[in-house]
Structures are given as structure tokens and as C-alpha cells.
């Protein structure tokens, strides 16, 4: 997933956007799907998307800043709809830090503020700044920042705990995504193995044309055979009429195709390493040594001859100056 980066005329990064394979906006390994910058390089906005939908569970999905660094908008989205259960889902501030608007949403539906006030006291929200924190009063600023966070009251220690928890959660979600990918990969490998075994068994039962069958069996038993079976399965699944709309089937089909290519590529690479490298090394060792030495001697002599000439020229130049 390569980011699409655009720049201002002055060369400063304007925006970095990540897209998934279908071309939909999507976060990339915990990084926001979209990050915008002001012409002076300061942060303008960050937004989290998953497969084309605004989505962030552990914080605001969209945050933007005024050019002076004061927070402009804080918006919470989950699954493409505005949603927050412990405070306003949309908060906007003026560039002097004063509150402009505050709106409450649950699952995309607007709800009155009283709904929250009755359930839980929501503190008045003050904007935070995206200016870098100085080391001197780091804790004080962190305290101030977190005390002003909507509906929360944190100390610096609690914030560090929260950051650690967020990090842990993002690691867990990353691992979950990886596990899903790995599950599809395992399914692809095991299914193609099973299909290959099934074909071999079928061929073994058919006793006619034994020479052809033996050669096909031998070919299927190689990595290239495995790759071929995988590719055929992938292409077959991709164009099976009723399965083209099924996401899981298509993902499995992709897995088959990629697995086929990767297995064939690895086999080719290994064969190249096994066969070509010894040939190259033997070819190199069979080259005569003397020629190489003579060339280098000639070069050295040539260089040695030119140096005095250059020095003489320099001397003459310095004398004339």
C-alpha cells in the first residue's frame, strides 16, 4: 500500500493518503489514511478510514487544526457514521480556542446533549494545541491537555497509561488483521494441497495411458505443479458466476493466485540459486588471472605517467598567475 503524496509549490508536503487494493481510503498499519499539512509544514488534519469508511475506535476519526496550531475540528466516526457514547461526536473551535459548535451523535443519529448530561457529566471542552511540547513542563502541559479532553480528567501518568493501552490495542488489532490474512493463506495452501492430492489419486486409479499419467503426477508433485494447481483454482474461483459477488470467495481466489505466483517465483529463484550460481562461479574461476593483473598494471602505469604532467601544468599555471 504505497501512499499518494502531494506537495505545495514550495515543496512542503500537502497531504499523504493511503488507499487499499480496491482504491478505497484505508489506514496503513496504524497510520491515518489521510494526513494534511499547512503550507508552513504544520499539521492541518488527520483522518482515519477503513475500507472507504471513516472509522476509529480509540479516538477521533477526524481532527483538524487552525494554522496557528489550535484545534479546529474533532469528530468521532465509527463504521462510516458519526458515533460517540461518552461525549460530543463533533466539536468545532474558533482560532482563538473558543468553542464554536458541539453536536452529539449515536450510530449516525443526532441526540440531544441532555441525553449525556443525565447519564454522565460532560466537562466543557477546551481545545488542545498541536504545537510540540517542551521538555521543561511536559507533565504540566500533558495534565492540562488531558484535563481539557472531552468528558475526561487525566493525569500525565494516566495519559501515558492510556497511550500505552492505545499502542497495545493497535498492536492487537494489527495482529488480528495479520491472523485473518494468515488464515486465508493457510486455507489457500491446504486447499491447493488437497486438490493436488485428489488429482494425483484420481490419476493413480486410472490405469490407462500410464506413461502420460506418470509424467503428469511427477509434474504435479513439484513446486511448479503446486503453483499451477493454485493458479487454476484462483482463476476458476475468480470467474465462477455465483461466486464473483462473494467477498470471501474472491479473497480466497486472490490468495490462490498470489500463492501460485509466489510458489513458482520461489521455485524459480531457488533453481537459479542452485543451478546458475555454481555455473557462474565455475565460469569466473575458469577465467585467466593474468589478464586482469596486466590491465590493472597498465592502468597504474598510465595514472603514474599523468600525475607528473598534471603537477607540471599546475606549477606552470601558478607561475603565470
Amino acid at each position: 500500500m504505497d501512499p499518494k503524496t502531494t506537495y505545495y509549490d514550495n515543496g512542503v508536503t500537502r497531504r499523504i493518503a493511503y488507499f487499499n487494493e480496491e482504491g478505497l481510503r484505508s489506514n496503513f498499519v496504524g497510520k491515518p489514511a489521510y494526513t494534511g499539512y499547512h503550507p508552513d509544514g504544520s499539521l492541518k488534519s488527520t483522518s482515519y478510514w477503513v475500507n472507504g469508511n471513516r472509522h476509529h475506535v480509540n479516538g477521533p476519526s477526524y481532527t483538524s487544526y487552525h494554522p496557528n496550531g489550535i484545534t479546529f475540528t474533532v469528530a468521532y466516526w465509527e463504521g462510516g457514521v458519526r458515533h460517540r457514547t461518552d461525549g460530543p461526536a463533533l466539536v468545532e473551535y474558533n482560532d482563538d480556542g473558543s468553542l464554536r459548535t458541539e453536536e452529539y451523535f449515536i450510530n449516525g443519529e443526532p441526540v440531544p446533549k441532555s441525553f449525556f448530561v443525565e447519564k454522565k457529566t460532560v466537562k466543557k471542552v477546551k481545545p488542545s494545541s498541536n504545537k510540540p511540547l517542551s521538555k521543561k513542563n511536559n507533565n504540566d502541559i500533558l495534565n492540562a491537555f488531558m484535563n481539557n479532553a472531552p468528558g475526561m480528567s487525566f493525569t500525565a501518568k494516566q495519559m501515558s497509561k492510556k497511550l500505552f493501552t492505545d499502542d497495545k490495542q493497535s498492536y492487537l488489532s494489527m495482529t488480528r488483521d495479520d491472523a485473518v490474512d494468515a488464515a486465508y493463506r493457510i486455507a489457500g495452501t491446504q486447499l491447493s494441497k488437497a486438490v493436488k492430492q485428489g488429482i494425483v489419486t484420481l490419476l493413480e486409479k486410472n490405469e490407462e495411458h500410464s506413461k502420460h499419467i506418470e509424467s503428469i503426477k511427477t509434474m504435479l508433485d513439484t513446486e511448479i505443479g503446486e503453483a499451477l494447481v493454485s493458479m487454476i483454482l484462483g482463476m476458476g474461483l475468480s470467474f465462477t458466476p455465483k461466486l464473483t459477488e462473494n467477498e470471501r470467495a474472491q479473497r480466497l481466489a486472490k490468495e490462490f493466485r498470489v500463492n501460485g505466483m509466489a510458489v513458482a517465483g520461489n521455485a524459480a529463484f531457488n533453481a537459479a540459486l542452485k543451478e546458475v550460481l555454481p555455473m557462474i562461479s565455475s565460469a569466473i574461476s575458469s577465467l585467466p588471472k593474468a589478464e586482469g593483473v596486466r590491465v590493472s598494471e597498465e592502468k597504474t602505469e598510465f595514472v603514474e605517467e599523468t600525475i607528473p604532467e598534471e603537477e607540471e601544468n599546475k606549477k606552470q599555471h601558478s607561475v603565470s598567475v
Binding site: 504505497d2 494468515a182 493457510i186 491446504q190 475468480s238 498470489v258 517465483g265
Partner: protein
Amino acid sequence: MDWHKLVGMAKTDANKAAYRIASKQMVDAIKAGIISMMKANSSTSGHIESINAILDSEFGSAFISYLLGTGLMYAPNEISTDARAMKLATEFRVGGMATAGNAVIDSLTENVMSTIMSTMESLPSLSETEEANARVEPVEDLEVEKETELKAFRV
């Protein structure tokens, strides 16, 4: 069949496959490097040999792969902000998980299948069962006949 769609699909697949090949080859190379280094730098102690044996298995490959994938995530900023390095890191992690999963399934299939096969072999053959059934059938018939006779007598 849309030709452009097919070409686009092949390109995307080839891109993914290239990362997969790169990660596999890198893991193999690093594994071979570690094993040869351990063999060169140490005497043939039991621990080293057992570590070598583990590394030489698919679980070793999976472990190295996952370790590389996680390590790349926490590499210095120049690497961790490079999208290609992150994609490779994901590939390492997923590859590690998949290798371990496949190894577990393969070993399970191998062991469980052999157990099932030995259990099946220990069961009486179908011909014996058929003979037993043949012996049972007349007895059942006799019982049925007796019941019908009794019913007829009652009536």
C-alpha cells in the same frame, strides 16, 4: 472477459507475490546465516544443536519471519515510515503466522490420519461384519415369526 481488468488483477497479484517471494527468500537467507554462524562459532553442545534443529524446521522459519516483521515495525524512523518496508513487515508477520499454521495442520494431519488409519485397521473387516449380520438375521426372523404366532393365538 475484460482484458484490462485481467491485466490489472495480474499486476496486483504479481506485486503481492513479489513481496511474498522477497520475504521468503530473506527469511531463508537469514535463517541459513544464523545456523551457519551458530555452527561456526560454537562447539557441538546439546543446546546449540537443539536450537539449530528448531531453527531448521518450519517453526524456526515462522519464528524468524515474525521476529523480522515485528522488528521492522520498531526500526528507526527512516525505515518505519517507508511504506514498502511496512508492507514487507506485514508480509513477514503474516508469512510467519501462515508458516506456523501450515506446519501445525500438516503435523496434525500426519499424526491424526495415521492414528485414524491404525484404528480403522484394528476394526473388524466388512466381510466379518456381514457374516455376523447373516448369523443375526435368522434369529430376528425367528423372533418376528414367534411374535406373529403369539398375536394370531391371542386373536
